[in-house]
Structure formats: structure tokens, C-alpha cells
Symmetry: C2
Subunit: 451 residues, 2 copies
């Protein structure tokens, strides 16, 4: 209790966390929102940062700004480390936080399925930093490939971009990189773009599993027309930073692998005192309470929670609508408990359909079924109105319009975040190719023989 | 010679470098533009990135995009290391580049005047990365100060922001941080903002040395009205990351020192075979040729060049108009030499006046003399039309308008670039304050005694 009011602690400021805090803000309770970042991230557009379309502050919104007028919602920037359910305390790197009710909304991270080597060399795409690292790396590989002393094999390796995972993230990333290639083509006056290869690898027989067969086929058709090699029923078994190994024995030389093949709950969830599924998500009951919660006051919602009931074959997917719909029911149930009513509501998911862009002016939407430009307009509208911050609505609309009309991407700025053995780091040591060759002998600038 | 055409190599894609390449693009020559970054940076607005107003891609423009239609201008991303004048070769980390004519337009970096300790702990503000590091650090210090276990002394140290140097950069940064404080005040519901202190330290008796006395006085008055402590005739002698030491013996506990007190030419300039001034700038003749150039084909323009002739008391200042005006004359002179005309033009600087913002809706302009909102409108217009990329004109105009009307800064995103012993690095290890104190005992949330 704080000042005589129930204290609700929420871990994670994603779609679910922000929504539930906003709901509690109107009530006579004190809320502490804990997040290791100071911003809410609009994850569905992360791929646009990684491909130079949008900049970070267009998809990241300062968490505190949501609660400017809500004095009973307090932001606490810290990394959650675990939950001591017996004592009603959340453990963080900035101390312990006692709670009356706890909501776990901590989200998900990339799942490399235990392949350590892949994890060390492939790019995940769940954070702003990862998206920036991908942007920097992809742009830099074009610059590196453009150097005159490169062999053809080196150039091909640097210009081979592999995306693993045929879900919306993988499909959208592959389409966006294909368009980035077309833009780069206009600005690299001497680079042979026949060396560029973009591959989308999917383990199953279908991309976009939530869509119908005809939309899946349309997606593959559009991707192929953009020059993306779509490889279905293809499994990755290893990647050492240079060679991507497939189960079939095929080896693909590439310096860029973007891993969008799976997610799992963030590490912290396993230390919350609940039982977890194989992908780390914590099992919850129909009332969204963590299964076996010691004091009946710990709930979980969104990507970090595994919800499966009745005739469901698998837990609900890790998508924003699940998180926001759960936020509402979780809020109602905690308010009931506060008022002494133990007759909690049961959560029922309402599927609102799915959509994915396949690049500039093209998308697929499954309900109502749409493809092409119409679908893209629908996709754009839905994403624009859900973006936080009126400023972002404006500037993103301008950028997308600009991008559609002119085909120019303005975010092509190489800062120096890069991936090094599974850790994001800054480029510190400059590359040294000063003695590898002489500029004269290069291919980029051909000197006249007589000079 | 390349394909029988003279090969002009330009080092640096700043205001001078881009301008001269654009001029050569129309001529029957081959141009190679060398830069270690793939973007042109609009440095005058860097302080707005450091204070969360603008995002990086609004002030950084991909260098290659300038020359999309100019097939004779080739971009070469590399770090220049020196010049072998005798052999007409530029040395880079990606090999040697032979030239017929060389233009040094490599720019300037922060001058810590040999104070290594200060260099290791204070933030420079000449690159995108430094601006992002300042943004992250300042925002993070507010979050750190907000933690309940902090002592008053720690909180004061974290909320003391010192800017050293009363030139335009220092003045603008101080004004922008003061406004950031006012925005933060609305969103930190429990932090005592009386602990916040913003100090602008200037060694001489005046801020904005290029302005008249009355504009200088007006600037100090406005800054003070915003709660900035302006300390004139104050010299810094040391900073260890915790205590800023003044010549007077006064010590200021602070975890943030932003150094805008001086610039010097980038390191590379000293290895170009010319004679350099004390601040590292290379001496040039009236025709902009490097003094004593061995083969009479090496020029220097902009911040990296020291130009002083006739009755001038000191070299021209390191500002954009000098660089762009020199670019034009340098281009004319190289074209003359190519055509065999040795009667080179002499450079004469036309001073267009100076302007500086002192925060939202306020600025000073010295010719024609203006202050307040009118000056701010003039400042805004001049900067908007000079920004590269029509998209940036739009989005920056929207952001400034938004900022003016709502007072909201949307770029307040803490990514994880930080300064560590003079090197920018990424935060890897999470802070551990888990045992320092108990959340219960903190000040931020006061627990009822009876609970």
C-alpha cells in the first residue's frame, strides 16, 4: 500500500504494459511501471528502422510522456531480475519493489533455439539497437563491397543478405531490403549489382502462417518479382559469420544473416516463480493469473505469457492485439480483487486479422482479404493511427509518402553500432586495408593505360 | 588521369567538400570524394540532436545522394591517413588514391587544449555519435537521480550540467538543456527540480564573440531568465568525471561536462606535408593552395585550413560560409590550372553575419540586428532552407512548430552509446544497485506507516 492506496507494479512498457497503466491511471491506486528502457517501442515498424526508412524517435516514444497527467503512475527505469512471490517483492538492479499486485508484461526476445553459433553471428531484430546495428551493417557492406581491391567472391559474400523466418517480420524485412538495393543501385556508379542476392529462408512450406494459401502464394510471388529468392522447407543448422549451413548440406557464403525465425520470453520470466512453456513464456490461467501464484496477486499478459485453454491447439501468438486485449481483462480482474470480488473475468481472444507489407505500395491483409495497393493503404492507416505521438503520425506519413513517390530512403546513415560475438558494440578500431592493394589497380576507377 | 580526364580527390564531405564536388560535377573531370562517414552532417543543428529535439537522419544526409545524377563523382568511404605530395597520392585505410589535384576539406574536431583528463571525461560535440552520447547521458542522469536511494549530494551531482564555451554551440546547448529541464519537470512526478543546475562557463568576458555588446548582453539576460547560470571570465583547469576544477580554486561536483570551448583541425591534416598553425589548421595562400605545395596541386578549404592575409589579425573562423565561399574559388583555381592558366584568383571572405538561438522562440542575429521571436524566425528559415533533402525541410519544420507550440521533445530516447575514458562505447554491463537500499525506504514512493 502507498498512501493507503493499493500499489500495482507493472513490468514492461510495451503494448500491454502501457495499456494497463493507462487503465489504472483513472483509479484510486498507485502504479509503478518498471522498464529497462525509457521508451515504448512500436515493434511492428522496427524493420523500417533496420532498412533506413524511419528513424528511431518515430517508432520509440518516451514512456513518461504517456503519464504526464497521471501523477499516480510512476516510471521506474530498471532491469527486472526476478520475483519473490512469498514476500510480494519485485527484484530489480535498482533495488526491491514491494507490490500489492504484480503484472508481468515483459515481452519477448529472439529465439535462436539453442544454436549458440548462430546467436553470436546473426542479427536479432527485437530492439532499437539491433535494428540500428542491422542498418549500419547492411549499408556498410555495400560500401565495403565497392572497394576496388575486393575479389568477386568477397563482393558476393558481402552482398548476400539472408533473412531467416517467413513470418511478417521476415517477409517485410526481405521486401524492404530488396527496395533498398534498388535505391543503392542509383548511387553506386561502379558496383555490379548482379552480385547482390537477397534470400528469405523458411523452415515450413509456407510464409505468413496466419494467412490463407492464396495470400501466401501472392506474397511469395511479389517477393520473387522483387528479386528475393524465397527458399521454403529449408532449415538452417549453423552460421559462423561467413558461411550459412543448411540441413540439406548446401552452404551459402554471406556476411549478413537476419534472424526472424522465432521468439521466446525474456530471460527474467523464468525467475518469477511460475511454470514456463518451452519458449520461456509463463503459463497463465483463464483469469490471466500466473498458474500457482502464491498470494493470488501475480498476473502476466502479452508476449511473455502462455495462454491456452479449451480447444486451443497452441498458446496465443505473440502479437500486440493479444497483449492489449489481455491488459483490459487483467485490469478488470485486479480491480475486482481490490474491491474484494473473487469472481474474476475469463479472457477470450478476439482475432482481428493480420497484415504484412511486402514493400513500397504492396501488402496483404487477411480480413477483409486484400492485396496490392489497397492493402498497403489499409496497412499504412492502421499503423499510422496506432503510432504514439501526433508528431510521429505526421512525420511518418510524410516519409512514407515521400518514399512511395520518390523511392528515396533518407535514413541511410551509418553510425557505428555493430554486432561482435553476440554483443552489440561500437566500431572502435578502423579497418586497415591500406596495404592490401593499390587504388590504381582497382576496378572502380579505370586509369588510362597511357597515363 | 582517369579515362583521359583530370582526377580530383576531395577529402571530407562537409559544407566545403560537398559544394566543390557539386561544382566539379558539371566539368569534364573525374572526382573522388573521400569521407570516413557515409553522410554529410549539418553540424549547426547537432546541438538539437544532443538535446532530443531532432533525430539523426534529419541533420545527416547520405553523401551519395548528392551525386545520384553525377556519374563523374565517386564516393569512397575511407579514413584519410596522410598525403604523399611527392608522388601525388592520398593515403587511406582502404589503400592509396592517386590524384591530379587534391582538395583538403577534412574539417575540425574538439580542442581540449592538451588537457587529457578533461578529454577523457567531458563530451565533445562534433559528431553524430557524440551528440547521441550526450543525449543518452543527460536523459539517463535524470533517471538515475530519480532513484529513491540517492543521497542529496549524488542527486545534485547528477543534475548539474556544465557547458564550457560561450560560442554559438555552448549558448545554444545551454538554452536547449534549460528547456529540456522544463519538459522533464512535467514528467518526473517525484523529483525535486531545485537540484537541477545548468552552468555555462566562458573564459573571456563575453559570450558570442562575433556579436556586438548589446546582443551579447541580451543573450546572457535571456539565458539567465531561463535559469542558466552564466559564468564569465571563468577558466576550467581540470575534470575527473566527478569534480570540475576552476582556476579560481572553486570545485563543481558534476557528472556532465559538455566541451564547446574550442576546435582544432582533424589529426590527419598534420600528415599532409604542409605547415600547420597551433590549432592544427594547415596554412594556405591567398589562392587557397597549401603553402609550399610540392607539385602546386594541393589545396585546402574550410575548418581544416588557416587563411590569414593582409591586415587580418587572426585566421578566418571555422564556420560554414568560409568553407562554401572557399569551395567556389578553389574550384575556379583548379579549373584554371587544368586549362593551363596560372593566374589564380585570390580569395576574399564576405562576412554574412552570425546568428544563434537561445531556445524555443528566441534568437539573436547580428546583421541585420534582431532579437527575440523575429530573430528566431529568421534563424529557423535560414537553417531550414540550408538543410539537405526536401524531406528534412518538412519534418524539421513540423518538429520545430510542434516543439514551439506544445513544448514537447520527442527524441528523448536513451539508446546505449556512452562515453568511457574518452572513447564512445555501448553500455554493456547493467548497473547494479540491487543491494544498495530498499525501495521502501526511498523518497519517491512514501509508504504508509501502518502498512
Amino acid at each position: 500500500m502507498i498512501n493507503g492506496k493499493p500499489h500495482i507494479v507493472v513490468v514492461g512498457g510495451g503494448f500491454g504494459g502501457i495499456k494497463i497503466c493507462k487503465l489504472f491511471a483513472k483509479e484510486n491506486v498507485e502504479v509503478t511501471l518498471v522498464d529497462r528502457h525509457n521508451f515504448h517501442l512500436f515493434q511492428p515498424l522496427l524493420y523500417q528502422v533496420s532498412t533506413s526508412v524511419l528513424s528511431t524517435d518515430e517508432i520509440a516514444y518516451p514512456t513518461r510522456s504517456f503519464f504526464r497527467e497521471n501523477k499516480n503512475v510512476n516510471f521506474f527505469m530498471a532491469k527486472a531480475r526476478g520475483v519473490d512471490q512469498a514476500n510480494n517483492v519485485l527484484l530489480t538492479n535498482h533495488g526491491k519493489i514491494p507490490y500489492d499486485y504484480l503484472v508481468l508484461a515483459a515481452g519477448a526476445t529472439t529465439n535462436f533455439f539453442g544454436m549458440k553459433e548462430v546467436e553470436d553471428h546473426a542479427y536479432g531484430m527485437k530492439t532499437i539497437q539491433e535494428a540500428l546495428a542491422i542498418r549500419n551493417h547492411v549499408l556498410h557492406e555495400f560500401e565495403r563491397a565497392d572497394k576496388p581491391y575486393r575479389t568477386d567472391a568477397e563482393r558476393k559474400e558481402k552482398l548476400t543478405f539472408v533473412i531467416v523466418g517467413g513470418g511478417p517480420t521476415g517477409v517485410e524485412e526481405a521486401g524492404a531490403i530488396a527496395e533498398l538495393r534498388d535505391i543503392m543501385k542509383k548511387e553506386f556508379h561502379h558496383l555490379d549489382f548482379n552480385n547482390v542476392s537477397i534470400k528469405l529462408i523458411e523452415a515450413t512450406a509456407h510464409v505468413l502462417p496466419m494467412m490463407s494459401q492464396d495470400l501466401q502464394d501472392e506474397t511469395v510471388r511479389v517477393l520473387r518479382s522483387k528479386g528475393v529468392e524465397v527458399m521454403l522447407e529449408t532449415q538452417v543448422v549453423g552460421y559462423d559469420g561467413k558461411i550459412l549451413k543448411l540441413k540439406s548440406g548446401v552452404e551459402i557464403p554471406t556476411s549478413t544473416v537476419i534472424w526472424a525465425a522465432g521468439v521466446k520470453a525474456v530471460e527474467f520470466i523464468k525467475d518469477c516463480g511460475g511454470e514456463c512453456a518451452r519458449d520461456g513464456r509463463i503459463w497463465i490461467d483463464e483469469d490471466l493469473m500466473v498458474k500457482g501464484a502464491v498470494n493470488k496477486n501475480v498476473f502476466a499478459i502479452g508476449d511473455c505469457a502462455a495462454f491456452m485453454h479449451g480447444d486451443m491447439k497452441r498458446p496465443l501468438p505473440t502479437v500486440a492485439p493479444v497483449a492489449t486485449q489481455q491488459a483490459k481483462v487483467c485490469y478488470e480482474n485486479i480491480m475486482k480483487l481490490i474491491k474484494g470480488d473473487n469472481n474474476l473475468n475469463k479472457f477470450k481472444y478476439k482475432d482481428l486479422g493480420a497484415m504484412a507489407t511486402i514493400g513500397r505500395g504492396k501488402a496483404v491483409v487477411n480480413s477483409p482479404k486484400m492485396t496490392g495497393f489497397m492493402a498497403w493503404c489499409a496497412w499504412m492507416l492502421v499503423h499510422l493511427i496506432r503510432l504514439a505521438g501526433a508528431h510521429a503520425n505526421f512525420t511518418v506519413a510524410i516519409k512514407w509518402g515521400w518514399n512511395l513517390l520518390s523511392g528515396i530512403r533518407l535514413g541511410r546513415i551509418i553510425t557505428n553500432i555493430k554486432l561482435d560475438s553476440g554483443k552489440l558494440t561500437l566500431t572502435k578500431v578502423e579497418e586497415d586495408h591500406s596495404n592490401e592493394s593499390n587504388f590504381n589497380e582497382g576496378k572502380m576507377i579505370v586509369l588510362d593505360k597511357e597515363d
